[in-house]
Symmetry: C2
């Protein structure tokens, strides 16, 4: 996010100087999570879950569909059955990989001050991602297009709590063999925030690498040394890694870019119905993927992902913000810390519209992640229908929650000026502090100023049209997009990107690999 690309805030700043800033001492690029962590397992139980996961990999094995990945595991000492494609990975291989995987790293940005440390108590929010559909109050629910994708990039660029880009919606009007060229071009030209790439086969991945390298002005050597791009690797739970996912693990590791290894283990569907069982399976799959990255390039940055929730046993649909989802995140955090890796989780909702359910489920899920100590909380703004639709309005209302949480994470001073004995002495019993010197000195910056909430009284609110928060959110994102300005770009870089897109398009692009 650049100052100029933050139209809503900059406009309001102008209109009502001096502007109160949300969380003045923190930006989304350097958030740290001070909340104590909720633990649901004893140390012995964590060890026992970890051990069960090692047994799964060692005794049962995991099916890996990519030859190169199986070869790498075999070379490291794993037992490979080429008929069943099963790979049994001894615990010494896993433990060796865990000992060399870094406990943290820093995402490189080409914008000053926007490098992002990941690990420890770092915290980064991601917008809802991967949705086939997009919706808003004006245009309704529809399959995503490239225009929608670009709006999504501008949206994220305009809102400060989301420091990274994400494929909010799938642009289905672009042929799939060249879609990655256009989505990468859009990310690199519409925002300075960190880009994202799908791992849909080596052809596409290498295209994305080259474009990001060009877009960020890095030499190939620099690109290999500086993590500045991430992908999400979803295993095909249970116990399977398919070709594009295995290839993505290898390619991202090889090039020093970041695979977020995220089994999507839904209790009762792709995973055991119990929290401990789903975590055991998810942990095993994550360890397998993480180990592969370390076999490819020892010490390459990698993120432990866990995104387990449960399914509604009546419909089979994944649900979020449930007690099971929250408690799974508490436990997943313990497992991530047990293996000493930065970890990623996600919020979300199964609601079909941006209503109270969408709002409360997303926040319940968010607190599960926050108290679980996740370093990256994806899908934290805008997801509907368990990820089938991205809502522009819900993005804005969810983002407001992220802003409040970020501000609530700031320290509280208890120095003498803050304790305000003299101010208390100054105001007579039954009086008020509105005009106290202590108040006058501080009122401009004392409180968080909301972007979405309406704090006027019922009469004023009714007179102003009685708009709901979702209706106000609609106005807010429309205004943000109308005032959005592209980030400063060297025209030569944009030309180089265009030339690359043209060349690769002429060559037929790269079809996704199944």
């Amino acid at each position: 996010m650049t100052t100029t690309s933050d139209p809503v805030r900059s406009r309001r700043r102008k209109a009502r100087e001096p502007q109160v800033q949300a969380a003045p001492s923190a930006t989304a690029f350097t958030l740290t999570n001070p909340f104590p962590r909720m633990e649901v397992f004893s140390a012995d139980e964590v060890a026992s879950l970890h051990n069960a996961s090692l047994r799964v990999l060692e005794e049962l094995g995991i099916r890996i569909l990519l030859q190169e990945a199986r070869d790498r595991f075999r070379d490291a000492g794993a037992i490979v059955d080429e008929e069943s494609l099963m790979v049994r990975i001894g615990r010494e291989i896993i433990e060796e990989a865990l000992s060399i995987a870094p406990p943290g790293f820093t995402f490189h940005s080409h914008t000053d001050g926007h490098d992002m440390p990941v690990g420890g108590r770092s915290l980064m929010f991601g917008a809802g991602a991967g949705c086939p559909n997009i919706t808003d109050l004006e245009r309704g629910r529809r399959p995503g297009s490239m225009a929608d994708f670009c709006e999504g990039m501008k949206l994220i660029d305009s809102f400060p709590m989301i420091p990274k880009l994400t494929a909010v919606v799938e642009p289905q009007d672009i042929p799939i063999a060249i879609r990655h060229l256009h989505t990468t071009r859009a990310q690199l030209s519409l925002s300075d925030k960190m880009p994202f790439a799908y791992a849909r086969g080596q052809g596409q991945v290498l295209d994305c690498f080259e474009m990001v390298r060009i877009g960020m002005g890095l030499s190939e050597e620099e690109f290999r040394q500086k993590p500045c791009l991430h992908t999400v690797i979803n295993t095909n739970s249970p116990r399977q890694i398919d070709i594009p996912m295995a290839q993505g693990l290898i390619d991202f590791a090889e090039w020093g870019q970041v695979a977020v290894v995220t089994p999507f283990c839904l209790s009762g569907a792709m995973a055991p119905i119990t929290i401990a069982g789903a975590l055991t399976l998810s942990h095993a799959e994550a360890l397998a993927g993480i180990t592969l990255t370390q076999l490819v390039r020892p010490g390459t940055p990698v993120v432990y992902g866990a995104f387990s929730s449960n399914v509604d046993m009546r419909s089979g649909a994944p649900v979020f913000g449930t007690p099971e989802h929250m408690r799974t995140n508490f436990g997943a955090g313990q497992l991530a810390r047990h293996v000493g890796l930065p970890w990623r989780s996600a919020a979300g909702t199964a609601a079909n519209t941006a209503d109270a359910q969408a709002t409360y489920e997303n926040q319940l899920a968010l607190w599960g992640c926050l108290l679980g100590g996740a370093n990256m909380i994806f899908h934290s703004a805008g997801w509907l229908e368990g990820g089938l639709t991205f809502s522009m309005e819900k993005f804005v209302t969810d983002h407001e929650v992220l802003q409040v949480v970020a501000a609530a994470m700031q320290p509280v001073s208890a120095d003498l000026g803050e304790i305000a004995f003299d101010a208390i002495a100054e105001v007579e019993p039954g009086g008020h502090f509105f005009a106290a010197a202590h108040t006058m000195e501080r009122y401009r910056t004392a409180f968080y100023e909301t972007q979405v909430s309406d704090w006027s009284n019922f009469g004023q609110w009714t007179e102003a049209g009685g708009k709901t928060a979702t209706e106000r959110a609609h106005e807010i994102w429309k205004q943000a997009l109308s005032e959005w300005q592209p980030p400063a770009r060297d025209p030569a870089v944009l030309e180089a990107l265009d030339a690359y897109v043209a060349k690769r398009t002429e060559e037929g692009g790269a079809s996704p690999v199944d």
Copy 2:
């Protein structure tokens, strides 16, 4: 709550046996909060805030409008100025009171198993209270009536997470001198849950005591020994306790009933604009009120209340679920634990309608209280407009959040059966667990079952009318009220209550005291 008075759950239980229960091992009567506590102050800073509060009471004093209360403080050694009505309370008086006030106690219930411990990690939710207006989707926003008050009692009675009654709305169609008789009669006849009384002068309070004693079938001596009724004492911040509040502190203490001493210190209005300053003032006022209860009856149960938030500096309106509100609760919890008393806080929202803002602010505020370790979280379901309106639909959606939180607080087992190694072995890679023996044994009770959330897919949801959560909540409360059954009551008790109401009405009731 009795089984028969829980129509929504019992109906669903019948329809879909076997029913999944929310938080099977906990009821709202015995909830404990396992979340780690968020601390914003060091131990030294807590001591420094506490000391500043003692200085406020000792050096500046507090204005107490009731003669009897001033006399009691003077008898204990405080310095009283009868002209200014200021009472300066030495720290030794406060410290003596804190040393004898109990760290916890148990609310007595006349329903088996519904006694409620308060203190330590106990947790109790209260519904939105004290609203002049009530609203619902059908009838709109209107001043509260006695019929609305009774609906509120039936509503609370029907929903399991709220173990106590509360004056959800002010019945303005009942003359104020006899209103307390009718609200107390309604509470005692419509629910087994713990009643509440306002402290609006001794006449009303003694009426309520007598009616509760009759309604709960207690002798006067038993009533004095068993806390079974509570009130909220709001100081008139800053540094003032008015006549009905001071009288309420004395009367509730005298009779062994529970005063929840709650300064409502809004930063920037009735309190300093800083969190530390507002807490210093709030803490001082709470300590003054608590001390009075202990002077009246050493060892009587009492609750430390803190309900500080901030005001919107543009409108002056109190706001909730803000970063300041949350952080104030983190700090208030530290102060409550410093003095070793059970403590009460509150959620809430300033939203004008049951929209996304109402939903997210209430939950943000709730997490401030939960991580602050509050034992009683009032206004946690149904409040709108900072307490000016009670929303029937918002009560239901907020209650859903309480149910999820209560279930998320339950322990997670990591025994071998839960870890499910054998189930993982049973399901082939890429397969699913729907039919696994491990799943079949557990699916009926494995997951929380929602009351409000709709987890069907977009097509099914649209076909079913595309209802929002708030629209579903409307149906849910209407059904609950239509199926509500009165609790079992000895007709003689009801007759005695009626006779008491008739007699006191004939005598003119008791006007509230200013």
